[in-house]
Structure formats: structure tokens, C-alpha cells
Subunit: 291 residues, 2 copies
């Protein structure tokens, strides 16, 4: 199978590594930055560096558009215009309604692997990045099911778990499990930093500030500004809804505190505890007062 | 030096281990649950198990009250009533204004180590739990400075970094760097779990849900209900203020999204990025789109 990867950064590069080593695929990569393409070639993430999208998708059976959200729609459009009839075109963008136009093409299937790392760039690509990760797929009702099956097969070989979901349900879900966490981490880190300044507590040199609770909670704060501004805007409707729901949740806690309502706080915390167990599976819930 | 520890759980037990091994102290422990005391003795966290507070503090130069927040004030009051004139009494509670009465005694110095773990109980106690951790101390202006210096010395020997701060400043700071993170994690985990249910996406068996961003952000959710209900209530004024500030922050983001204001979102994210670098020190900020 020949796989084309358009955009060889962390995600595209990791797809390439896994596709070559685990799926025995021939991988052709294109990146608007030729240095990224050359690095991918040197790292073994691709077999061949294409000079343009046309050359990359020529003869490919599977295309992954792994460009940043801001240029993703255009990349997918070009890929569909240039790819053959027997080729499935997918992407790895974190919002799926944004690619509405492409969904009219039976060869297109939107995708989104729930994987990533704190560092961008092909030099951080890993063959096992998708190991055990959910990989959402949002085929339109009109999508070609044979091409869809081929895409699922490749994704499974990469080590991921393909999961079909409607595009709008995907975007609402992501607003709550990915975009809102980033927004809350930003809100929190700004407030914490301001508090350290206001109380005139200079941070101990070299030591991370606060306890493990703070450090976990703000780890995703301040993610790449260009990428995340695009993501927030691409999913703004669902994200606004999620933010309003979070404000409602905070107002409930505020009311319980105003009334010193221990029972309401305890019930709320127990619900959170059950939800955490459900989401994090076997991971031990915190029982101690780790700050 | 003889050190008394009142309450030998995770924190009290870790103080005992470090005090015995690193400060060469003789450690006497008391716990209302005799099994916890016996376990502490067996683990080497204390030299001696006292039958009551009076026996524990008899002849001690330093007392650490490491009881849960709900019974902490009473434990400190008893310790001060029973300890000698040349004895410093401290605690490890996560709010400091709550022990206002004790502050009138020159032998009392409120304390709070920024350390903890996801698991409670003396069986998880570790000699190195406080290694490099900030240990806030909130002496009243009237506190005996000689006793205070002795306490600092012991804390340094445990491996921690003593840092003096006003009790009210401490509580405002904790509201933002510890209590609010827990509140936000709860709000988030409830919303995420509800979203998975609403979109009818059963969680993959055994696999943690969502991406690394979600998992980090909700790690402290649903912490021990009894402990945390007490903590939230003990610091309710400062926490209400912090929650209102967080709501304000969320409303700003919501407004930027409503107006599709990319520049406002980018500026906000850059500020969060700078704050994160400042708080997490050398830790790499996330640049990729890890969900």
C-alpha cells in the first residue's frame, strides 16, 4: 500500500514511522517546509520526499492530511482534487465540522487521533505514538464504505483504535474533553501566577511552583498559540457552550460555599470521584490531600 | 531532639521517617487509631507509640499536628495545653487562618508543606516526600523567634524549604494554587463524563478516556471527600473569591470566541504560556496539539 502524508510534523511523522514499520507501507511525504521533509526522510518517517502535493498523492491508496488546522481545509481540498478514484483521503485535525465541504466527496473520511505530545516537530515523532489511542473517524453517510474499511485497517495497524462518531458529536465531545481543559488550564495558570506575584512570593529558583495538583492541572496551559487559536476558533460554537456549562458548574460550587453547605459539596465531590474513576479507569483516585 | 507527631498518616508518617533518618530525632507518635500507630512503628516512622497526646508531647521540643483539617484545631489546642514551655507546636493543615486561636500562643507556628501523594495512609509514607518542597510557615508577629528557628531547622533537615508567609496571604494563595485546581478538575471531569454519555460513546474497555491533556487536567479530581469538603469550607472566603475570578476569566474567553477575536485569544494564550514557563520552570511547554 502507498500512503501519502501531507505535513510531516509530530503527527504526520509518527504516522509515517508506524506505517512503514508496522504496516509495511511505502510512505511518500510532502511538507511545505522542505527541511521538515528532509528531516522526515532522514529519520525514516517517509520513504520518499515529494516536491508537491500532486507528486505525493500520485498512486497513493491512502492520504493523511496532517497540516495545521488553519491550512487543513485547503490541503484536503487539493488532495481530493489530485488523488485517484481508488484513494481514501483523511485528516488528523481536532475539529471535524470545519471540513464540511470535503464530506461531499465519497473518498473523504475525517479523522482525529487522540494522541499528541508536549513537543512539536518531526524530530519528536514516535512509532508508538498511537498505541492504544482512540482514533475518531467521522465518515459522512455518503462515504465509500470500502475506502472507509481500508482506512480503518491502516489505523489499526498503526496501533490505534478506530471509533466512528458523527462530526458534530465529535466536535461537542472535543470541546469538553480537549478544548475546555486547555481553556481551564490557561485560566488557572494566569490566576496562580498572579497570586504568587500579588502575595509577593517570588518563586523558588529552579523549583516548580505549587504542589503536584497545580502542576498536573496547568501542564497543558499555554500550548502553541498559532495552533490553538485556530482550534478554539474552528470549534467556537461547541466551545462557547462548554464554557457556559463550566461557568454554571462553578456557580453551583460558589453557592454551596456561600451557604457553607457541606452536604452539597460532599455529594458533588463524590460525583466527580465516580466520573474520574470511569474516565481514568484503573488509575488510583487521589485520597490524600496532595496540594 | 524529641519530636512528637499527632496523627501518623501519609504526612505524619513521612515526617517521622525523615526526622528519624535525616535529623537523628527521637520520634514519638500518637494516632487516635491505634492500628495506624502500630503500623507507623513497624514501618520505622516512629520510635515509640504514645497512648494519648499527653504522653506523645511530654518532653518534646517539636510537635507536628498532622491530623485531618476537621479535627486539627482541637488537636493543636490540646497539644499546646499539654506541651512544655520550651516546645514549638506546628501543624500541616492546608489552611492557616482556621487556627487563629492557636496563634495567640507564642509557641505556635502554623505550617503547610506543599507535598502529598495520590494515596493516603502511613503505608505510603516516604522519607523523601518533602525533598525540595516548599513548606509554608505562618508565624504570628508575637511568635517566639527562637522556637520558630528550631522549627525551620527541623524542616530543612527533612529536605524541605521553609518559606515564611502571612496566614491570610497563604490562604488566598492556596485558594488559587491548590483549592481552585481541585474545583476546576471536578467541574471538568463531570462535564467530560456527561459528554461521553450524551454522545453515546461508551469508554473503551480498560483504556483511559480522552487524550493526555484531559488525563492531566482531571488527575486531582474527586480527591478524598471528607478531607476536601473540610478544606473547601475552611478556606471558603478565599475560595469563593478565586472561583469568581475564574468565572471572570472564562467570561473573557467566551467573549473573545463570540467575536471570533483571534488576536485576543492569541494574546491571552501567550500570557498563559509565559505564566506556565514561570511556574513550571524548566519543564517544556506544550507546543503540539496534544488533545
Amino acid at each position: 500500500v502507498k500512503i501519502a502524508i501531507l505535513g510531516v510534523g509530530l503527527i504526520g511523522g509518527s504516522i509515517g514511522l508506524a506505517a512503514r514499520r508496522r504496516a509495511g507501507a511505502r510512505v511518500c511525504g510532502y511538507d511545505p517546509d522542505p527541511r521538515a521533509g528532509a528531516a522526515a526522510l532522514e529519520l525514516g518517517a517517509i520513504d520518499e520526499q515529494a516536491p508537491d502535493i500532486a507528486a505525493a498523492v500520485a498512486g497513493a491508496q491512502v492520504v493523511f492530511a496532517a497540516a495545521p488546522v488553519g491550512v487543513l481545509a485547503e490541503t484536503v481540498r487539493e488532495a481530493l482534487a489530485l488523488a485517484g478514484a481508488d484513494c481514501v483521503v483523511s485528516d488528523v485535525g481536532s475539529t471535524k465540522l470545519a471540513l464540511q465541504d470535503a464530506r461531499e466527496d465519497v473518498r473523504f473520511v475525517g479523522g482525529h487521533p487522540l494522541a499528541g505530545a508536549e513537543t512539536a516537530g518531526v524530530e519528536h515523532a514516535r512509532e508508538d505514538l498511537f498505541e492504544g489511542a482512540t482514533w475518531y473517524l467521522t465518515p459522512a453517510p455518503s462515504a465509500d464504505r470500502e475506502l472507509y474499511a481500508r482506512l480503518c485497517d491502516v489505523i489499526e495497524r498503526l496501533g490505534a483504535l478506530p471509533a466512528e462518531i458523527e462530526a458534530d458529536a465529535h466536535d461537542r465531545l472535543m470541546a469538553r474533553i480537549s478544548h475546555l481543559p486547555h481553556v481551564l488550564a490557561n485560566v488557572l495558570v494566569l490566576q496562580a501566577a498572579e497570586a504568587f506575584e500579588r502575595e509577593d512570593k517570588p518563586l523558588a529558583g529552579g523549583q516548580p511552583a505549587g504542589g503536584p495538583g497545580l502542576r498536573d492541572t496547568i501542564r497543558v496551559a499555554g500550548a502553541n498559540t498559532a495552533i490553538w487559536t485556530d482550534i478554539y476558533l474552528a470549534n467556537r460554537e461547541a466551545l462557547i457552550e462548554a464554557i457556559e456549562q463550566a461557568i454554571g458548574g462553578l456557580e453551583d460550587v460558589r453557592a454551596a460555599l456561600l451557604h457553607a453547605d457541606a452536604s452539597a459539596l460532599a455529594t458533588w465531590n463524590e460525583r466527580a470521584r465516580a466520573a474520574r474513576m470511569k474516565l481514568l479507569g484503573g488509575d488510583t483516585p487521589p485520597t490524600a490531600a496532595a496540594p
